[in-house]
């Protein structure tokens, strides 16, 4: 490990963390170190990024800087100095004063952090008002100033709304306003944009960056996404299993990473591929495997709330079709419609030229077998009370009439095929890691020997390196078994790496579709351009350009 920040002689740092250890005790009283000897500095007006996979200890460290640990954990060694005071030696009442005033925290999900029954203003101004730091009027005026600094629409009045009346991206910024209102010296941002749509993400990131610079606040930015960090952080601390892997200025880490792990993170970052490969797309003579013809569908008793309009989509054997759009664009609805979880109001789904019945119960078992659905969240898509053996053998027995004995044998082979040990067959899903569960999720789809797998955001919840492994596995399986995929995602970078053709969805319509190189080639549809523009580039000046470009595109889309 190299500590290159030592040659940065900028006086005394605002936050000085030295040798921080955090341990957790299990039921039998054994101690496990989950954060091991972390040291770093943050200067006022500077942002340090803690980056690593889930379980790397990044959130634990950021909480430790507030003198807090999650239940079951405790700080066993080290010091955290904020200005002159050691945070770890303060009494609880003094800590409570520090937190919310001098150190504030922005959580990953603003929606879960706001009280839906109170106005936004009441919640944003709560801390300074109840501690007597400001009068209510002062606090409201300050809040309105912050709203305008955060580039929120109608800053005078947005605070009078309730949390459900603003968008997710706005709520995330309002939470930053809540954190900034008492002029904290240290702001901790824990994955503040992870839950947002890609195109919203850059706006939020931009306003955070501006706010930190203008107020000369020190900030800790926790994330798993290296490409985002390049935009906001001055220093980067790469973590793995609670240990420092690499620590240094952003420019140096992204241009010249030293450690293998950092290089792996760089390789797996959500970046557009240098050149989009144009694989031999299926020719017109090939009979299509699946066709969606002129489908309109919606929710409600008479499908009066339209979610899909005039959808035409064709998937050939052995090809990957990416369906991309933001939340609410109808991409998951389309997947559900194809798999028979909902019916169409108009139009139909055709398998080998034969129209399929609308719902699962009307389709034949063999038709069901050929189209399998892989869910986004493997942790809820696998029954926690069934062993993997049962999860995998059931589709074989159900669709293919295998006996339990044959199915058990094949389940073991299948586990091996997706890169898991065969003795995992006797485990339950909660005993697996996120990436392993997603492999089982895929294996269950494969167990049916399908021709098409609908993959609904199957890599979105995974760490970048693990997601890359899953994508590699998908490609291997395709080469070997001639599978077709419909790959539903919001991530245009991922989809352009693995798809032959893509369809871009917005407001329930397909706005552009075709071979991937054509759809993404300029001049493309404004919305496609907006999505492309939202993919971070690994250079530090990208964000400001992207925001300007974004505003132009959004204006163009609104006028269209």
């Amino acid at each position: 490990m190299r500590d290159t920040s030592q040659n940065d002689p900028a006086g005394d740092p605002l936050l000085k963390v030295r040798g921080l250890d955090v341990s957790v005790r299990d039921k039998k009283g054994r101690e496990f170190k989950i954060v091991d000897g972390i040291s770093f500095d943050v200067q006022p007006g500077e942002v340090i990024a803690l980056i690593g996979e889930s379980g790397s200890g990044k959130t634990t460290i950021s909480l430790g800087c507030m003198g807090y640990t999650r239940p079951g954990c405790h700080i066993t060694a080290g010091s955290v100095h904020l200005g002159g005071t050691n945070v770890l030696e303060q009494s609880l009442p003094r800590l409570q004063e520090l937190r919310g005033k001098e150190i504030t925290y922005v959580a990953q999900s603003a929606a879960a952090s706001f009280n839906g029954a109170m106005t936004i203003d009441a919640q944003v101004t709560e801390i300074p008002v109840i501690t007597g730091a400001m009068s209510r009027e002062e606090a409201l005026a300050k809040a309105a100033r912050l709203y305008s600094d955060l580039e929120l629409p109608d800053p005078e009045n947005i605070g009078k709304r309730y949390p459900h009346q603003v968008s997710g991206g706005q709520l995330q910024r309002l939470m930053a306003a809540m954190a900034m209102i008492s002029d904290p010296r240290l702001l901790i941002l824990d994955e503040p944009t992870t839950a947002l749509d890609v195109t919203t993400q850059i706006e939020v990131l931009h306003s955070f960056k501006k706010l930190i610079r203008d107020n000369n606040t020190a900030a800790i930015y926790v994330t798993h996404d290296l490409s985002l960090v390049a935009q906001v952080a001055d220093h980067i601390l790469v973590l793995k299993d609670g240990q420092m892997v690499e620590y240094g200025p952003t420019e140096q880490i992204i241009s010249d990473p030293q450690h293998d792990y950092t290089k792996a993170l760089m390789a797996a970052a959500h970046l557009m591929p240098e050149e989009i490969h144009a694989p031999p797309a299926a020719t017109a003579e090939d009979a299509p495997l699946l066709q969606v013809r002129n489908v309109t569908a919606g929710y409600g008793p008479a499908q009066e709330i339209i979610a899909l309009r005039d959808i035409d989509l064709t998937i050939h054997a052995g090809e990957t079709v990416g369906v991309i759009g933001e939340s609410g664009s109808g991409k998951t609805t389309l997947g559900r419609l194809i798999s028979g979880l909902m019916g169409a109001k108009q139009g139909g789904v055709y398998l080998d030229g034969q129209q399929l019945q609308h719902t699962v119960s009307q389709r034949s078992r063999d038709e069901l077998r050929q189209i399998q659905f892989a869910f986004q969240m493997a942790d809820v898509a696998l029954n926690p009370r069934q062993r993997l053996n049962k999860i995998l053998s059931r589709p074989m027995m159900f669709y293919r009439g295998l006996s339990q004995r044959e199915a058990t044998k094949e389940a073991a082979r299948l586990l091996e095929r997706v890169g898991l040990p065969t003795d995992f067959a006797w485990r339950f899903p909660p005993e697996l890691s996120g990436g392993q569960r997603q492999r089982v999720n895929l294996a269950r789809a494969l167990a049916a020997q399908p021709r098409l797998i609908i993959c609904d955001e199957i890599t979105s919840a995974l760490d970048t390196i693990v997601a890359q492994q899953i994508l590699d596995l998908l490609e291997d399986l395709q080469d070997e078994l001639g599978l077709s995929y419909m790959f539903i995602t919001h991530d245009i970078a991922t989809v352009s790496k693995i798809s032959e053709r893509i369809a871009v969805m917005r407001h329930g319509r397909i706005v552009a579709q075709g071979p991937v190189d054509q759809v993404l080639q300029p001049p493309c549809h404004e919305y496609t351009q907006l999505l492309l523009n939202s993919v971070p580039e690994m250079r530090t000046d990208w964000l400001d350009e992207a925001v300007v470009e974004r505003r132009k595109l959004v204006a163009a889309l609104d006028n269209a």
């Binding site: 957790v24 496990f32 079951g72 659905f373 869910f375 696998l382 029954n383 006797w426 339950f428 005993e431």
Partner: protein, 287 residues
């Protein structure tokens, strides 16, 4: 990552290591009570209706460890037989109400829509009757016998179980793993049996304990009012009623069965609380 797989022996060992002294005490008490109930004829020193003396409400002595009751029968023996009948009735009632309540509740959740609405509203209507009043009306008009008693209380309990079972199943039905089974083409039966039930088992087990306690209290209350178990047989409720005058003589006779009811109810509650807490707030076992 935990090495190896979970087996029921492992789970049991883990569960035993989680027991606190208080829970252990309650569990041992419950086991003892069930053993006493099961082997009452061999444990009780005298017969159930055997009149041993002409003296009512004798204080505890070397022949009769808890003294005599209002007819001069041995209180300890009657207590032992009373526990047997109370537990026997409560078990049958709870099993019946669970079988019907869970079955109907899961069915309502699995079918949803109109079927669910109808079943739930009918259930709500039944729930809105005060339980004891409903039981009194039914038993008064049909006459009290074990069969009437069991089916009446089981029916009333079933409405409570239905609500809990349905709510549990509704929550589980929206999980992606159920949707995965639906999209595979599985029938309702398979989904209920293999996807929903295993995930509802722990809360249902806890609910079983609570309903069992309520059944005991309910039978005792009915017996106390004279509509439950009929003399010469007795359960704990009957014994409280029979020996009420003992208070006037300064004897504790009526309090022994009352304490019996209370201790069983409290122990069961403590045990169930522990069971629920264990299932909801498991410490992380992987780090």
């Amino acid at each position: 990552m935990t090495p190896g797989t979970r087996t029921w022996q492992g789970e049991l060992r883990e569960a035993l290591s989680d027991l606190t002294p208080g829970v252990t005490l309650c569990l041992l008490f419950l086991i003892a009570v069930f053993m006493i109930g099961a082997f009452a004829p061999w444990i009780a020193p005298y017969g159930e209706g055997e009149i041993l003396t002409n003296d009512s409400f004798l204080p505890p002595n070397s022949q009769m460890w808890l003294g005599s009751d209002y007819l001069g029968r041995d209180v300890l023996s009657r207590l032992i037989y009373g526990v047997r009948i109370t537990l026997f009735l409560a078990l049958i009632i709870t099993f019946l109400s669970f079988f019907a309540g869970v079955f109907l509740g899961f069915l309502a959740a699995a079918f949803g829509g109109r079927a669910d609405s109808w079943m739930s509203r009918v259930n709500d209507a039944l729930l809105s009757f005060p339980a004891l009043m409903l039981a009194l009306i039914v038993i008064n008009s049909l006459g009290s016998s074990f069969v009437v008693l069991v089916f009446t209380i089981a029916f009333i309990d079933m409405t409570r179980v239905f609500r809990v079972a349905r709510a549990l199943a509704v929550n589980i039905m929206v999980m992606d793993y159920v949707e995965a089974a639906v999209v595979r083409g599985e029938g309702k039966g398979w989904i209920i049996w293999h996807e929903v039930l295993p995930n509802a088992l722990t809360p249902l087990a806890a609910e079983f304990g609570i309903r069992f306690t309520y059944a005991i209290l309910f039978i005792s209350a009915l017996s106390f009012l004279g509509l439950g178990v009929q003399p010469p047989q007795s359960d704990l409720g009957v014994m409280v009623k029979e020996n009420m005058q003992a208070i006037l003589w300064g004897e504790y006779t009526t309090l022994y069965p009352a304490f019996g009811i209370a201790l069983i109810a409290i122990s069961m509650n403590v045990f169930v609380d522990w069971l629920l807490q264990r299932s909801s707030a498991k410490l992380p076992d992987e780090i």
